[in-house]
């Protein structure tokens, strides 16, 4: 059933530092709104039920599965997506390390992995193994395997703590 216009919800939020005003349906996910309403397609959907982490972005600094967050819930929130990571031509250290380590093959899980890794290293610049797993185990990679991804994140961590 299509809701009437008065059921729509107005949402103010900051996306990658840019104040944004949106009018969303109450049942639309943040993932859907970002991708299909404002064209920020860098955040990917893959399982659409919070199992694979492809849609990971940062909401108020914490990693969330944007397929499980309703857009209407994030009023006043601060959203960071993969599009906000690089400064112009200058790649973020995680992006650079992902290229150098060959950690992005098909690249579909990459935005979610990079955002999850950013959240991990923001919180713990030099994580031990358990912290590393707890930060990353919600993200599935189907084609690259995890070896080069671990190397990329660890490589970024070395520069992070400097």
């Amino acid at each position: 059933m299509t809701p009437e216009a008065d059921e729509m919800v107005a949402v103010e939020l900051a996306i990658n530092g840019k104040p944004t005003h949106l009018v969303v349906r109450p049942d639309e996910t943040l993932l859907f709104v970002l991708r299909d309403s404002i064209g920020l397609t860098g955040t990917k959907g893959a399982c659409l039920e919070g199992e694979c982490g492809s849609c990971t972005l940062l909401l108020n600094g914490a990693p969330v599965n944007s397929c499980l967050v309703l857009a209407a819930q994030v009023h006043g929130g601060r959203v960071e997506t993969i599009e906000g990571l690089a400064h112009g031509d200058k790649l973020h250290v995680l992006q650079r390390k992902f290229i150098e380590s060959g950690a992005a093959q098909c690249g579909y899980c990459t935005p979610g992995l990079i955002m999850a890794a950013k959240a991990l290293l923001d919180e713990t610049p030099n994580p031990d193994e358990e912290t590393f797993f707890r930060g990353m185990e919600g993200n599935i990679c189907r084609c690259t395997g995890y070896t080069s991804i671990c190397e990329a994140i660890r490589g970024a961590a070395r520069e992070w703590s400097r």
Binding site: R35, E83, Q105, G107, Y108, E129, G138, G145
Partner: protein, 815 residues
């Protein structure tokens, strides 16, 4: 576009008639000195880490005018009595509902035999068969309308598994019956050799249905302008998709254009056509509109073909010393509802039934059996990975029976250079033993620190807690690359140069993450003396590129790499010819280096490529070249399965897994993992290692957790909550060992890497579990429950002896 395609037809040589050079001494005549052999960064890396690469679903924004939804069968087997779209058509925003009556062409799909109606006509054969296509102004409306389309069925008995399919009174799913076909191999006299053997070992194996589970769900857009139907959807073989869509939808070939967007994995799962054709149906009905369609994960798993579940009955005979004398193998393969690439999977299973082992007397029968499950077709490993589970399982059992070391039994039987595999094809450079030895050498070295925790010591605790058992498992595999068996297999490439001196490579191959376009750039750049940064690759667009065959069968590096190299060398001749006139130096004394043509003996004589191009254009040179690489393989003999060249070349690999098994819970943890492959030459070592690690991860998933559960024709777990994939915690660092023994026919000696890492992984993990718990495994995946049941056979839900009610030699293969 120039039509002077250059053909290099590699003759069917008699490689075994020539003296053999030991593998380590077969250097390729030309050593690469440019980008080939270097771990160049992927050329699509930046757009992928920035999130700007556009995958199918990323094309919706700002383009999609209307949305498509597919009405699918609910029953697994039924006659369609009526399709009534009237309720859906009354919904606001619904633009149309289309059935097979609206399809103007053959309405047939299928890669080998076009046996699958695009939209069902009178019968549905699996729960997921497409019946109608709905077009609406919003995705939500399309979805609501799909549910409102009323389909009346007359239910038919569901053939839920191979037992039911082979029962004498089973309903016939296809006109010829429920045996799709298969392949047999007869070499020597297996029965006589078994009768004379010192020792006989028999076992049956049961492998599961597996889903590709690529993350990038099927999605894309299409547009029809009244003349040309343009479809942007990820596939694995755009030119075949074009042929198939043109025929099925009744359009001239030149009216269909397929463009492949960025693609998030494929693994064989995009080889069969998927949403392209529904988008085509919708677009034709709504000219001028851009139509869009994307699957949910559930629809993706319901609609797509799967990996064949196989039952493998395996008997080997050997001497007391462990030398194999005979193998008798019968395989039943759940083909699902339609053929897909099933016939080829059965053939590949048969030709890889004994893997890299030298067995003089072999009898193999592989049967594909139709059921009302999802069609099964291409998936990385393509029939060879199921057989590797069996032959490696048999080697472990034989070793245990004879009390000989597992590695020793393998070494005694592994083929050496010049020996033949089961199809009778002799392998001039067989490096199975070298791969095994290199992997074992690596095992003896201390494992590297884990990148997840470099601080943690990797020294092993002196004693394990009492509930844990450690085991080490080995596998050795071989794999014939390309389609093989005489199936036409070719790749074309075009290489040109821009006015600025940039090299442009055009290939029809699909980049889905495996590194094809970086490989293409490296090969062209190597040949033309430029850097990868000065090379552009245009790929998988039926209008701009020639056909390069599918991105599958581990074939693109070998086939397209060769085609690009040939085209680039043709272009090089033109460039040197032009420069020769400019510099007054004979072309043979010129070379391309660092973006210039330089005198080989007089480097002071030099002219930039852009200048050569400008002069060449003025003098009427085409400044582009197209090449075809089309080596021949030989179709096997129907009765014996023998062929002097079933596959163009063979790959070898060996994996070692170390596992910890919790005997109280049955849980298995892979603790250390080593993968070794001989790739001929690694054009990009980092890419090769990436394919090895990714393939090993999928193989470990197949060994331990991945299983599509089919119940009465219904997939019980069509989502990532219940279909379990390996995560960071499940996979240790994959230690990659790359061997390079140049292939005389490969580009710069390269063979390929795609499928073998998956094939070798599953048996290595199973072997390790058996080593840990002292009981051999026979059913995949080895979930905690299955491992626990192996340890407690008396309490198992299914007694081990009742695993198969099917008696093996039950079917006959008709010509």
């Amino acid at each position: 576009m120039t039509q002077n395609i250059q053909t290099i037809d590699v003759p069917i040589a008699e490689p075994f008639a020539e003296p053999l050079v030991p593998p380590s001494q077969t250097p390729y005549v030309e050593r690469p000195h440019g980008p080939v052999g270097r771990s160049e960064d992927r050329i699509d890396g930046p757009e992928k880490v920035l999130g700007t690469a556009l995958y199918g679903a990323d094309l919706f924004y700002g383009r999609a005018d209307c949305f498509v939804s597919v009405v699918r069968s609910e029953p697994a087997h039924a006659e369609i009595v009526a399709v009534d779209p009237s309720a859906a058509l009354k919904m606001p925003g619904v633009l149309g509902v289309y059935t097979h009556r609206d399809v103007r062409g053959t309405n047939r799909q299928g890669l080998i035999v076009r046996d699958h109606p695009v939209l069902a006509e009178s019968r549905v054969l699996f729960r997921g068969d497409a019946i109608a296509v709905v077009v609406a102004t919003s995705e939500r409306t399309a979805e609501d309308a799909r549910r409102a389309v009323r389909v009346d069925y007359r239910p038919l008995p569901v053939v839920a598994d191979m037992d039911a399919a082979l029962a004498p009174d089973a309903p016939r799913l296809h006109p010829d019956g429920n045996i799709m076909g298969g392949k047999r191999i007869r070499k020597g006299d297996a029965d006589a050799a078994l009768a004379a053997a010192d020792v006989i070992v028999s076992e049956s194996f049961c492998t599961q249905t597996v889903d590709h589970a690529f993350l990038d769900l099927e999605a894309g857009i299409a547009h029809y302008d009244g003349r040309t139907l343009t479809i942007h959807v990820s596939g694995q073989w755009v030119h075949e998709e074009r042929r198939l869509i043109a025929l099925a939808l009744g359009l001239p070939l030149e009216s269909v254009r397929i463009i492949c967007p960025a693609t998030g994995g494929a693994f064989g799962g995009r080889e069969d056509i998927s949403i392209q054709i529904y988008l085509g149906i919708a677009a034709i009905q709504h000219p001028g509109k851009t139509v869009a369609l994307r699957y949910s994960r559930e629809e993706s798993m319901r609609a797509r073909h799967k990996r064949h579940a196989m039952r493998i009955y395996y008997t080997v005979g050997a001497t007391r010393d462990g030398l194999l004398t005979a193998a008798k193998i019968t395989v039943f393969s759940d083909e699902g509802a339609y053929r897909s690439t099933g016939p080829a999977v059965c053939r590949k299973a048969a030709s890889h039934a004994t893997g890299p082992y030298r067995i003089p007397n072999v009898s193999v029968d592989v049967y594909g059996v139709f059921t009302n499950n999802n069609p099964t077709g291409a998936m990385r490993g393509f029939g060879a990975c199921q057989m590797a589970i069996a032959y490696e399982g048999m080697m472990d059992r034989l070793a245990a029976r004879l009390g000989i070391d597992r590695l020793e039994v393998r070494r005694r039987n592994l083929i050496r250079s010049g020996d033949a595999v089961t199809t009778g094809q002799r392998i001039p450079i067989a490096t199975a033993v070298e791969c095994l030895d290199a992997a074992v050498r690596r095992l003896r070295q201390c494992p590297p620190p884990r990148p997840t925790d470099p601080h943690k010591s990797r020294t092993r605790p002196p004693a394990l807690p009492p509930h844990l058992r450690r085991g080490v498992g080995y596998s050795v595999i071989c794999f014939g690359l390309g389609y093989g068996d005489g199936f036409p297999d070719a790749s074309r490439a075009r290489v040109g140069v821009s006015d600025q001196g940039r090299i442009q490579v055009f290939t029809g191959g699909v980049e889905y993450g495996q590194g094809l376009i970086t490989m293409a750039a490296q090969v062209a750049a190597e040949e033309l003396g430029v850097s990868v940064r000065e090379t552009d690759v245009v790929w998988a667009d039926t209008e701009q590129t020639f056909e390069s065959g599918s991105s599958s069968a581990t074939r693109q590096t070998y086939f397209t790499g060769n085609a690009i190299r040939l085209a680039a060398s043709e272009l090089k001749e033109q460039l040197l010819d032009i420069a020769s006139k400019l510099l007054g130096v004979h072309p043979h004394e010129l070379e391309l280096r660092d973006g210039c043509v330089v005198g080989r003996f007089d480097p002071a004589r030099s002219v930039p490529l852009a200048e050569v191009v400008a002069q060449g254009r003025a003098r009427g040179y085409s400044l582009e070249a197209t090449a075809l690489f089309k080596p021949r393989t030989v179709c096997e003999d129907f009765d014996t399965g023998q062929s002097p060249r079933a596959f163009i070349t063979y790959l070898f690999g060996s994996h070692i897994a170390e596992v910890l098994v919790d005997i109280e819970t049955g849980e298995v943890r892979v603790d250390r993992y080593i993968a070794c492959h001989d790739v001929g030459r690694a054009i990009n070592p980092q890419s090769v290692a990436g394919q090895m690690a990714g393939g090993a991860t999928q193989g470990i998933g197949m060994a331990l957790m991945e299983e599509v559960v089919n119940r009465d024709g219904r997939i019980a777990n069509p989502n990532f909550t219940d279909y379990i994939l390996p995560t960071f915690r499940d996979i240790p660092p994959v230690e990659c060992v790359i061997l390079e023994n140049d292939d005389p026919g490969g580009p710069f000696g390269a063979r390929g890497i795609g499928e073998p890492p998956l094939i070798a992984a599953t048996p290595a993990v199973l072997s390790a579990i058996a080593d840990a718990i002292g009981v051999h495994t026979h059913t995949t995946p080895c979930t905690p429950q299955r491992v626990w049941e192996l340890l407690h056979p008396d309490e198992a839900a299914v007694p081990p002896d009742a695993r198969f009610s099917l008696a093996p030699p039950h079917a006959r293969l008709e010509r």
